[in-house]
């Protein structure tokens, strides 16, 4: 409970500080509590303090500030949130200044993940902006002596529609005043038909900075007297420092060594010199025996898996079994995968005058604030986190280990400190997408109708396990979350772009394909026959039409595969076309067609960038990405052995955006990645008759599957 109270203190304090700092103008506060219950609303939202969540303020100079605890890591909300605000407030997009992830100015936010920003932050923000416009209209009515109904607003100027020269600007009305006002009842947000900024694709607000090299990331912060730190790392997770000799570093008078237990670091005014000095330290480690490796990990995980929770169920499994004439069994495996953002984890920390200022590469600045306060035994109000641009997150920058390291070192040295992990450290301390297992038993009757579906997902969490096909008898169980349970994984695991949804989609859609193949039915028709969600039916048909899908039973030899999913409120369908080199097992993706219904589309080009990005990134987990390890040792240290998608992998990509304003804005950044693995796996089957059960579908695994398929035939 204490933590809860602290959080409320933080929120109250920021509110007071903010109101003081804002000085004048119109300020609107709004809260998560005004949110309607929605599909996929995260439990985390309940932890947010109930008083308010974010601010907008209209300044005396007419500029509008939006304060949000969300951060920009490439997903484009720096532009799309501003569009939503400009739309409802009736101001120019250029008049909006975004203040993101600043813990002194922005109220508490749980973090930027889960495709939540637009879906859940955007809704009350638009509401708040509509309310602010309502307040300003009332003020203008009084000032101009005209009824509010007779007023129109354009670019922050309110005018009498009978006499447009009779006007007053927002800036004029708020200048020299401090207005904190709420309206009841709340004015409605604009109808879909009235939107003029939402639905357009303006240039990204972060664009000029990013193409000129001026955009600042955590490692670009430069402070007087700042030291760069390099930290002594164990050879394996779980290792303990047995002996360390730091004396060789003493030959370098400019390098400073600090030690606190197993925590040993070298600091220098140049990062490369710090690294060189660190390499002189001689350390011996006790590495515990750990027999977990890629060959044993799945047996181990099945052994330690918790009971689990039912995700969804319906009908009567016994009845389903009775009705089935064909039983299908499949076990699907996901291997450990890295986030591998090009920017490694970085943090810069300064302690001055009893206040700590932190510039982290973090998806969770408010968590960083609390973690730093705890590590330094300070109250949270002494810590200020400023969020620079984040160079890619994908879930990997939810943990803030590097932030705490930099904070401890700033305290130990009394100097500003920057910690930037090397690529090897990034691979070592990444919280990987976990090794996971999905077991499915399913059945079809004599007419090719699916009659039961028994589904057990181990260590990937429930996202994407929920049944959306119309199978009368089904049961889906999630056994273990993606971040593991004690003793499950030899190292940290965590959320990875649409956590759990990738392997759940791969397993479900591969199994469905097997059922369609056995029934001798075209896999698109098989899906359409088992769906009643109109949005999902529409994306499947749209993708098929664009692709030029011609229904043939599997395997047709053509190399075409289809998959669909429900995720983060969106509906997606992906079709892949592949070529398989039977000698090497190498798969080349020739084409991807992806259709997405993400509700109301705020910024169509931004949405397409996310779709293309998700599809391209997805090629990696589908075909190549797998962390090699031996117990707690991580064997991949750089991009030579851990290959991520590159230009030469590019297929032809077509994206279809289905605008569906009736359901409001849904998630857009995660849904496009989740069917990449499944559509490619199904395309490989269609091409070769070989079914792949593991992600990634590496050349070696494809060769094995081909050999197996050949054996079964002969």
């Amino acid at each position: 409970m204490k933590e809860q109270n602290d959080r409320k203190d933080v929120a109250r304090l920021s509110r007071r500080e903010f109101l003081k700092a804002a000085g004048g103008g119109l300020i609107v506060l709004f809260s998560w509590q005004s949110l309607p219950a929605q599909e996929g609303r995260p439990r985390a939202a309940a932890e947010v303090p109930d008083n308010f969540n974010a601010f907008l303020s209209i300044q005396a100079d007419g500029r509008v500030k939006l304060f949000t605890g969300k951060i920009e890591m490439g997903q484009g909300i720096v532009t799309s949130l501003a569009q939503m605000l400009a739309e409802e407030l009736e101001v120019e997009l250029e008049a909006i200044d975004m203040v993101m992830g600043d813990t002194d100015l922005c109220p508490f936010d749980n973090g930027t993940f889960g495709s939540l920003s637009t879906r859940f932050f955007g809704v009350p923000m638009r509401q708040a902006a509509a309310e602010a416009r309502g307040v300003l209209l009332q003020m203008a009515a009084a000032r101009l002596g005209v009824p509010a109904e007779q007023l129109i607003v354009k670019s922050g100027t309110v005018m009498d529609k009978e006499n447009t020269g009779h006007r007053v600007t927002y800036a004029d009305m708020v200048r020299g005043r401090k207005i904190e006002k709420r309206l009841s009842p709340k004015p409605p947000v604009k109808s879909a038909a009235a939107l003029s900024i939402i639905g357009k694709s303006p240039l990204r607000k972060d664009g000029i900075e990013k193409v000129t090299g001026k955009a600042l990331y955590a490692g670009d912060i430069r402070l007087p007297g700042m030291l760069y730190a390099k930290i002594l790392r164990p050879p394996a997770h779980g290792a303990r420092l047995k002996q360390v000799d730091v004396s060789p570093v003493k030959s370098n008078p400019e390098a400073q060594v600090v030690r606190e237990g197993d925590f040993v670091a070298v600091l220098h005014s140049q990062p490369d010199a710090a690294e060189k000095a660190l390499s002189m330290i001689k350390a011996q480690w006790d590495v515990p025996l750990d027999h977990r490796n890629p060959a044993t990990i799945y047996d181990h995980l099945l052994k330690v898996a918790p009971e689990g929770d039912i995700v969804s169920q319906g009908g009567d499994m016994g009845k389903g079994e009775m009705e089935a004439s064909t039983i299908h069994e499949g076990t699907y495996y996901d291997h450990y995968m890295a986030h591998a953002p090009v920017e490694p984890h970085t943090a810069t920390v300064r302690i001055a005058g009893g206040r700590v200022t932190v510039w982290p590469s973090s998806q969770r600045p408010f968590a960083a604030k609390e973690e730093v306060a705890q590590a330094l035994s300070l109250s949270v109000d002494k810590v200020h986190v400023v969020s620079p641009f984040v160079g890619g997150g994908f879930g990997g920058k939810s943990p803030n280990r590097q932030v705490v390291e930099a904070a401890r070192l700033a305290k130990l040295t009394g100097k500003p400190v920057q910690v930037q992990w090397s690529r090897a450290e990034e691979f070592f301390y990444d919280t990987f997408r976990p090794a996971a297992i999905v077991k499915i038993r399913s059945g079809t009757d004599g007419r090719g109708k699916a009659v039961f579906w028994d589904y057990d997902a181990y260590f990937c969490g429930p996202r994407g396990a929920e049944q959306f096909y119309t199978i009368p008898n089904h049961r889906e169980v999630s056994r273990g979350p993606y971040n593991g349970v004690p003793g499950a994984h030899p190292f940290g695991t965590g959320p990875w772009r649409a956590p759990g949804a990738n392997i759940n989609a791969f397993a479900r859609e591969s199994q469905l394909d097997s059922m369609a193949a056995k029934a001798g039915v075209d896999p698109l028709q098989f899906r359409l026959k088992h769906l009643d969600d109109p949005r999902l039916l529409k994306v499947l048909k749209a993708a098929a039409e664009k692709f030029g899908w011609k229904g043939l039973p599997l395997p047709s030899g053509r190399g075409q595969g289809i998959a669909c999913a429900v995720d983060a409120g969106a509906r997606v369908a992906t079709i892949a076309e592949v070529e398989v080199d039977k000698e090497s097992g190498k798969v080349r993706v020739l084409r991807l067609v992806h259709a997405q219904d993400m509700g109301l589309v705020i910024n169509p080009e931004g949405a397409r960038m996310q779709m293309e990005g998700g599809l391209t990134m997805g090629l990696g987990y589908a075909l190549m990405e797998e962390v090699r390890f031996d117990g707690g040792r991580i064997l991949d240290v750089n991009f030579d052995t851990y290959e991520i998608p590159r230009f030469s992998w590019l297929p032809r990509i077509d994206t279809i955006l289905i605008d569906n304003p009736d359901v409001g804005a849904q998630g857009g950044g995660e849904p496009p990645i989740i069917c990449v693995g499944a559509s490619i796996g199904n395309a490989i089957f269609d091409r070769t008759g070989a079914r792949l059960f593991d992600l990634p579908m590496s050349p070696e695994r494809v060769k094995k599957a081909l050999a197996k398929a050949f054996q079964m035939k002969s």
């Binding site: 490439g74 090299g213 090009v342 160079g391 890619g392 391209t616 230009f647």
Partner: protein, 161 residues
């Protein structure tokens, strides 16, 4: 060994006193304060640290600063002139050829090196030239398009590369 090293940086002469074996990346980012050039892998495998040395795209994390002596170094900060974006920067901006932006300086500088060498690259040649520059956000499709757009623009205007 500390030694003076003089070179041209974005058109201006500079002089640093540094251990000649230090990698150019760190001298640029730390001693010279130009943070547009990024660290990504430290082994020349990702391209985030790409700069031009006498017109050739080079991984600055791999070359010692002593090798820059007397040479012309161009970083992302040197591309826009008098506040006007280079056609490559303009094309990246307008095409939305970036997301998180961290690999973007290396992408643009590498593409700049390509266009110096080959002002009218085919799509295949663009892909080959860019293949060792990594982007995790998946902006590849638009990066290829943006380079093509910039090449066409440069040809049309007869502009500098």
């Amino acid at each position: 060994m500390m030694e003076p090293v003089e070179f041209f940086l974005n058109g201006k002469p500079v002089k640093v006193t540094a251990d000649g074996k230090r990698k150019l990346l760190w001298v640029l980012r730390t001693d010279l304060g130009l943070t547009g050039t990024k660290y990504g892998c430290g082994e020349g495998m990702c391209g985030a640290c790409t700069v031009l040395v006498d017109g050739k795209a080079v991984r600055s994390c791999q070359i010692p600063v002593s090798e820059a002596r007397g040479k012309k170094i161009l970083t992302i900060e040197g591309l826009a002139r008098n506040g006007k974006l280079h056609p490559l920067q303009k094309a990246f901006l307008e095409r939305g050829a970036f997301q998180c932006g961290y690999c973007t300086p290396g992408m643009i500088v590498n593409a700049y090196g390509l266009l110096l060498d080959n002002p009218e690259p085919t799509e295949k040649e663009i892909i080959e030239a860019m293949d060792d520059n990594l982007c995790r956000c998946g902006a590849h499709v638009r990066i290829v398009q943006a380079i093509g757009i910039a090449a066409a623009e440069l040809k049309k205007t007869g502009g500098r590369t």
